[in-house]
Amino acid sequence: MSTQPTKGGTPVAAKPKGKLALYWAASCGGCEIAVLQIDAKILDVAAAFDVVLWPVAVDAKVRDVEKMPDKSIDVCLFNGGIRTSEQEYMAQLLRRKSKVLVAFGSCAHEGCIPGMANMNDREEIFNTAYRETPSTDNPQDIRPQPETKVPEGTLHLPVFYDTLKTLDQTVEVDYYLPGCPPEADNIWAAIVAILEGKLPPPGSVIGANKSVCDECKRERSEKKIKRFYRTWQIKPDAETCLLEQGLLCCGIATRAGCGALCPVVNSPCIGCHGPNDGVRDYGARLMSAVASVIDAEDPEEIERIIEEGFPDPIGSFYRFSLAKSLLRRKKRSANGDGAGAA
């Protein structure tokens, strides 16, 4: 047993230094920033761990990880969904090399915003990116190819999948840290739990198991809603429940842990922490709750309230969780891309 000098009252005195890896896949980079938001405590992390891989901050190579023995990384914090073959390879590699693999943030956990592209397939996404956007200048309509032959040999690009998958749809995941991005306090709490070995059972989401409403100070009464508004249509009053005012506030279905950050600033919860334990499909549960408080009994009126209130139901109810949902994606236009009708 080596004895590491205690630093700043860390709960990790006298423990051998562990190995930590951080990786990103289909994500925006916000989770990387979130890690740094634990401020000076990052020094405690550095005292407890050697960082063996962290592409955004540390110069370590994938080759080095490949050479490490299996299970030699103590903890891997993996953010981002799986969209390409390279990301899938990295997920498999880090799973093999890590004792504890954490799906860090909403993308790895539920697919998040990149997962909403599951409403399209590769062809449609490429059409947008390489042809249709106003800023695209691509007269020869060049698309990324998995293989390109040049005089020097064959070059490879990762294959872009039709469907974004979450980390746990790709490899086995030990823990989930929710949020877009996870809040600094929760990240630190998770790191401390890992260091002290006080983790919940594998497969758990590390965090509170109650709803955002429990943390929200607004006044609530019985919910009966005649009309839903989009955020730009009304200026909500600051005391009353936002859902009761007709805004789709997702707090009722969303895991707590953020301190009701959005409702505090008069903006409805958008559901980035995902569902509480035991809920298989976040969007289904949310729409079930919201539909049941519509104040109408006539089928036509119900239809009208829903159509006017939710022009984009996927974006409203599955903003963060489409990839993780039961249905996962829109029906693929060419349902023949290898997806055999077996």
């Binding site: 990762p158 999948y161 289904a284 729409m287 539909a291 049941s292 009994e297």
Partner: protein, 165 residues
């Protein structure tokens, strides 16, 4: 064109008070109807969360039937109104996913309506049969390119490492 041999698999969520009893009556009255609906008894149509329907479709069902008491007759006062609102919301969502409205149906069937239950099952089965199999999970299968690409990464990395001293 729909497959002649195709037998749709339909999951039926039937309210314990009205529709399940109605289905029972259809049986005891010896009314003939297709065997494609697998009934699941629930306490109330208001118990049917959209999750149930989506899970059935994702796990291989080709259609779903939700049946409850007529409006005004709910054993729990307004469970069937809740079912109605959730159903309308669910249909709007299923449109976006590309699942045809004819696959998922809400019907009011009372305990005395064995005849109506058989009509509903006949009609729903015929419509789903015409639509063909749903095979939802095939939507996220990737093609052979995926495995090939994964293998080539491993191969290339191994080759690259051999070059090193």
């Amino acid at each position: 064109m729909a497959d002649e041999q195709f037998e749709p698999r339909i999951v039926g969520f039937l309210c314990r008070w009205c529709s399940y009893t109605g289905a029972d009556l259809a049986g005891t009255s010896r009314i003939q109807y297709p065997p494609n609906v697998v009934p699941i008894r629930v306490m109330c149509s208001g118990r049917v969360d959209p999750t149930f329907v989506m899970k059935a479709l994702a796990d291989g069902a080709d259609g779903v039937l939700i049946a409850g008491c007529h409006p005004g007759d709910c054993h729990y006062q307004e469970g069937n109104y809740k079912a109605l609102r959730r159903y309308r919301m669910l249909l709007r969502m299923l449109d976006k996913f590309g699942i045809e409205r004819d696959r998922v149906r809400l019907e009011w069937v009372s305990a005395s309506e064995g005849e109506k239950f058989s009509h509903v099952v006949k009609d729903l089965t015929a419509k789903v049969r015409a639509l063909g199999p749903l095979r939802w999970s095939a939507n996220w299968e990737e093609n052979g390119q995926r495995l090939e690409a994964l293998e080539s990464i491993v191969r290339e990395h191994q080759e690259a490492m051999e070059v090193q001293p």
